[in-house]
């Protein structure tokens, strides 16, 4: 899906846990997620802490969208 949308001319950020697979399949902008069963949350945290990490992931993804890349790039989230 990432590749097809990019082929249509729109930049894509792939948020995913297993970034090596994202690299293998050819995503250009990758943001690491939390874990496979809960990519965008963490049930071990409080609601407030979860909201914080979610916001950070989304902000990182938005920044990645605005960033020019020459090669496949992983944008680490700064929690």
């Amino acid at each position: 899906m990432v590749k097809e949308i990019e082929r249509a001319g729109l930049p894509v950020v792939h948020i995913c846990t297993v970034t090596p697979i994202s690299m293998t399949v050819g995503a250009n902008r990758i943001v690491p997620a939390i874990a496979i069963p809960h990519p965008l949350g963490n049930p071990a945290l409080t609601m407030e802490e979860e909201k914080h990490i979610r916001r950070k992931i989304v902000e990182t993804a938005l920044e990645a969208l605005e960033t020019e890349v020459d090669d496949q790039t992983i944008f680490d989230v700064k929690y």
Binding site: T17, V18, P20, I21, T24, P32, I34, A35, I36, P37
Partner: protein, 428 residues
Amino acid sequence: MKKLELGNILIHDVQFSNEGSKVENGVLYVNKEEICKIALEDENIASCEVFLARPGESVRITPVKDVIEPRVKVEGKGGIFPGWIAKVDTVGEGRTHVLKGAAVVTTGKIVGFQEGIIDMSGPGADYTPFSKTMNVVVKMEPVEGLKQHEHEYALRIAGFKIACFLGELGRNVTPDEVKTYEFDNIVESAAKYPNLPRVAYVQMLQSQGLLHDTYVYGVDAKKTLTTIITPTEVMDGAIVSGNCVSSCDKNPTYVHMNNPVVTDLFEQHGKTLNFVGMIITNENVYLADKERSSNWSAKLAKYLGCDGVIISQEGFGNPDTDLIMNTKKIEAEGIKTVIITDEYAGRDGKSQSLADADPSADAVVTGGNANQVIVLPPMETVYGHLEFVDTIAGGSANNIDAHGNITVEIQAITGATNETGFNYLSAR
């Protein structure tokens, strides 16, 4: 030097008995009440039924929770299933008796997904190794309202207890054959076989959470760091299964006890290679865990001075990444690898087989394509619950036709594409 003797008592039939359970002249006699009493010791188990399933019978067992081989420790430290049934003494030395040819198969409504089919005859029987064993099928249902983890735990432990009870019946029986497995420490073996290539086995253990867990000496594998275990320990049940989802490529406890990679490496030890040890590593759902565990696999393979390793995967999907990480990092240490996996290449076999890949993974043994479709004709008897067969992995809605034929992918069949080679699929 470590030595374990496996005394195989060959079981060629299983029968019910109104007297006490016993092993006599290669027949396992099972008293239902004795089995159910063990299961019902656990207040979380509400009901227990016992059935027998023999090769060639028109019997289907589904869903399959676990398959376990009855064994008993007759000499040496510790006992079978350390950390669960026995205390945590280090096992793998002395003598163990095996009811070879018998198996305990646990069934009943299982937490969440209801997975795994064993057909004792017909085309499905060719795909599961457990159509060839004399099976004591134990169907257990939980008390109402039991939570998922407690349910899984109750069934798992009951299976081990029953297997140990049956194994105990072989304590004083003279085995039909005795196989000896000797294992030197790394200094001794290096001195004995200076010219043979040093080969280790890296076994990846499924550890993704409920119904996807494996345990080592009672410890949840997802909470472990990659470590070394001596290969005879697994023959005494040091590694056990807590997983049965997509059962074609999960290792039931029976497979851990009879791991063919271990026995084949023993077979070649001192002849074509020096089997230096076994590394066990997990397959967790966090990327950092995957990185750390595979880093440690490579570190330990190097530490053992390996020239080559065999890596077996358990499961598919994201564990493909663990597999490729292990391969890449071990190869980067100058150690050759062969990987054993299976494939999800689509029903036509034309899709990419693994979710991840790398040029260093250039020696691959496959257990088969789990998406391959098979039609299973109806069986006269079903032990367990057939009603779930359309919702299991490899199944699909309305996949039972008017004649009772079930169309499924072979991933629904217990052990069909096993990634330790404990299966029957072959290109030959």
